[in-house]
Each structure stands twice: as C-alpha cells, then as structure tokens.
Symmetry: C2
Subunit: 285 residues, 2 copies
C-alpha cells in the first residue's frame, strides 16, 4: 500500500517516507506526537508533523551531540541533558565511564513514555541508575537550579513554540551559570543553509554570555531539512581541537559508534563549510 508521511520543510520543499503503520498517536499539552513504522527510516518519532528522530539516521545526530563535548572535557562527571525525549542522547552519554550522574530534563512526559514503549533502541538507558529524569521546562530549570555541571547538552527541537526560549540570550546566560569553571555546552543549531542568521545569533549570544570558545560543526542528516545540519559547541576553557586522540581511540573501542571516531572529533570542525565558519567568525567579532 502507498501510505506516505510528508514533512514540508517550508512551503517549497518536502521529504516523504512510505509508512508501514502508525504505532502511536496522541496529543500532549505541548504538541502532537506520532511514532510511525516506515520502510526506509525504521521507526520515526514525529512531533507536530516534523521528523524528530528516525532509526535510519539517529546514530549520526546522537553520537555527534554526545561524544564531541564529552571527549572535549577531560573528565566529565556531571552532565545535564535538556530535551531529547527519545533517549538517544542519554544512551550515548551513559557510555562514558567518567560520568557519574546525568540529569535529564524533558518537557513532555508523553514523548518519553511513547519512546520508552515504541523506540527501545533509543530509550534503552532510561532506567540506568545514573540517569535522573526531571520532567520540567529546560529554560526554567537552568534559571532556577543551583546545580553545577561539567557538560550541558541541549538536544532541542526547532526554535518554535515552547523551544523558542532555548535560543535566546537569557537561556545561554543561565547555562553558563550552571556550568563549572571549566565546563562546556553543545546545542542543536539547525541547518546552515536555511538558518544562517539564527546560527550567527546563537554564536553572538554565547559570546555575550561569557563563553571563550565557540565553534559550529556540520554533518549530513538525511531526515532534517536540507540534509545539512549543525551543532554549536561553547566552552569556558577546553578547545575541542586539543584532545588526546589515542585516549579517545581506546575509549571508544566498546562504544560501537558508526559515525564518530577520534579523527571525526577534530576534523568535523575544520571540514564545516567555509560560508558557515566565516559567518560565525563575523558574528563573534
């Protein structure tokens, strides 16, 4: 049968995938949630008609949002993950033996519950004893908490609706406050082809919030608009280019990564497109 799910990236471009079945569909206080079983992308989490996570390409996103910041910090013990209710980021963070506690702040409990049931490949570490799930708004959490972290990972959706505040200066100031003196953060930062002004703003706000090292990195992401996606790393002290590659190579032997390795760690920053590196450089001047 020809049943298709289509996300309109904007009013002029659309990506469609053929659907086997609708496994879950509900509305929460915040959004419409669906989990589809598809032929090519495996199970797909769809939030408000937008591809959020697919089993086909989630390894790219989750390995890169986790291992780059966690191996940039020489000894991350306490990690805060904001968003990412599918559990993929937490699954990767748990692999780091230095990490003693992961505070996992997710706004929408229904996403968490749906993924726990229908996407076990992603949500498999939700019961891990290191993981402390906190159901609340990440913006509110960093504004109010007295906790301090080594690494903060902001696995946020697009900057619309309740997630808009995750891309504002006030939020970055609070993230800075919640990091130890040698802490660092990474944030999902949209498509360089479609959202360059947003990325420049993020860089500017991060600088104004006090971060010393601010660097974007880019990777192909099939299910996201334009297929070219980015993260922004912001650090108080450690530079991701100054890592011990041999140490990383040894540590990831048991990680079963498919995208990330010790060479990707540094080269992903340098291989990002010239137009993006220049735009961010300009924003930081």
């Amino acid at each position: 049968m020809d049943i298709w799910f289509t996300e309109y990236h904007n009013k002029n471009v659309a990506l469609s995938v053929r659907v086997k079945d609708i496994l879950y569909r509900d509305k929460s206080k915040y959004q419409e949630i669906a989990i589809l079983d598809t032929y090519d992308f495996g199970k797909v989490l769809v939030l408000d008609n937008t591809y959020q996570t697919t089993e086909f390409d989630e390894f790219i996103y989750h390995e890169l949002i986790s291992h780059i910041p966690l191996f940039t910090h020489p000894n991350p013990k306490k990690v805060l993950v904001i968003g990412g209710g599918d559990g993929g980021t937490v699954r990767e963070v748990v692999k780091h033996d230095t990490v003693e506690r992961i505070d996992f702040v997710e706004l929408d409990e229904k996403v968490l519950e749906a993924c726990k049931k229908y996407m076990p490949n992603l949500s498999c570490e939700m019961e891990n004893e290191k993981v402390n799930i906190i159901i609340t708004d990440g913006i509110k959490y960093v504004a109010e908490t007295d906790e301090k972290y080594d690494v903060i990972i902001i696995d946020c959706p697009d900057p619309v609706g309740p997630a808009k505040g995750l891309f504002e200066k006030e939020f970055y100031k609070n993230v800075f406050k919640c990091l130890n003196d040698d802490g660092l953060m990474v944030q999902q930062s949209e498509s360089p082809l479609y959202n360059l002004d947003l990325i420049k703003n993020i860089a500017k706000y991060l600088k104004e919030s006090g971060f010393k090292i601010i660097m974007p990195y880019v990777y192909p992401m099939p299910s996201y608009p334009s297929g070219m996606w980015s993260f922004m790393l912001a650090s108080k002290k450690y530079n991701p280019l100054n890592v011990d590659k041999k140490k990383i190579k040894k540590k990831i032997e048991k990680f079963n990564t498919k995208y990330y390795d010790e060479d990707v760690h540094t080269s992903i920053f340098l291989s990002s497109p010239k137009f993006l590196k220049e735009a961010v450089k300009e924003a930081l001047e």
Copy 2:
C-alpha cells in the same frame, strides 16, 4: 499554484520541490532532460526524473569534486573531465591557473546545449579557450585515447543505463592508463548510506587497477538521495593529506568558494563517517 516535482529515491523515500515553471523539456538518445525553475532550489537540471544539479546546492558538489584533486596535485596542467554537462565542474577547474587544457567529454550534447541556454551560472566557462569539448562516451574515450592527464574528474550520474560502465574495473584500468605517473582521479561515488557495497567495489577495482592511495570523502548534499554524498579519490603518488595549506589559502582568495577552503581540503577525509572509512579499509585489504 502548487506544482511539484518529486524524485523517488527508491520506492520508499521521495524529495519534492515546488515548481515555478518548466523551462526546458526534451528527450535525447540517452535520457529525458528537463530544466525546472523552482522556488527553493533555483534552476534544477532533471535527468530521467532525478535531481542532477540545482542552483541551491551545486556549489558544494562542484567545489569539492574539483578543488580537492586539483590542489592535491602540485602542478596540474592537463585535466580530463568526464560527464557533468551542466558545466559546473569545468567552471571550477578553469579557476586553477596551472591548468592549460581541459578535455571535457560529455555523452549527451542536448544536456550541454540546454544548460548553456538555461543555466548560465554553471555553463559560463564552456566557451573558455582552455576547454576542449568532446561529445562522446567517456568509457570509449579512455579506452581509445593516447592522451595522458594529470587529473581526471569523473562527474558521472548514477550507475544505471549508459553510466553503468563508469563504475566497472575495465573503466578504472583505462583511467589509470590515461594518467601520468603522478596523476590522480576523483569520481562521484553515491550515498554511503544507500550504496555502501558499490563504494566498496569502486575501492577494490581502483586498487586492482594500480592506484596506490584510495580515499573516500563525504559531504552533505541536499538534493541527492539521503543528503549524504561521497567522492572517491584515487592517486598514483600524491596524498591529499600532504598539501601546503598556506599555498591553497593564497590561491583560493580569488576563487570565491563557499564550501571549500584549505582546512576542508584535508579534514573532509578524516571527518567522513567511521562506518565508511572502515568499509573502504576492509575492501582494500
């Protein structure tokens, strides 16, 4: 109005773009050719219902297929370009002042003519005095010619129909024969996510043909299936990682590249996904 062009990447995934107008449509001996004017991708060359080139993302593909091999060779004078009737590759090759002659072999004269008329941003160097256009089959050309080149760029379509032979051992042997003793080649090599077996075969055939250095590189390519695309570089002598970055930086000042720079040149190989690097390594053992 809602007029859409859709390419089905396979029977389960489709990428659609909203169309302003159909500028050109014809059938040649080899294929159906269309040039569409679209809202988001600018002008789009479509061959047999497949995105071939779009003004939106062609800079990524054409900069990387040209400048990586041409800056890996310290002094490329004679270049063979096989395929790429839109002219985008030739436009980039012409920028290199060391290059004295470009033999440009294209199978389908109709593609060339259509792009000359409707896609001048790409075909702008077709009249350049260094460019020698030869309308013939690239497979036949390398089998029969006595010419020797410094760099051969294979800007081929997908391995179906007449392009199938561009991915076979016999062809690579002839490419090897047509290269000087320090020559190198690069080929469009499909999606690592969808065509890993093909990529492994290419690597194997290149090794069997006598190439010493065989390395894939990966980049995001919005209009191509999966958005993750690759090139394969094969070299008799020069390693792309051993370049003089300062020299490249100076040379590209006037190139107006948007994706490529001296850091991309080397890091694009290292930042390619682990699963691809491992698959190619295995194929070469």
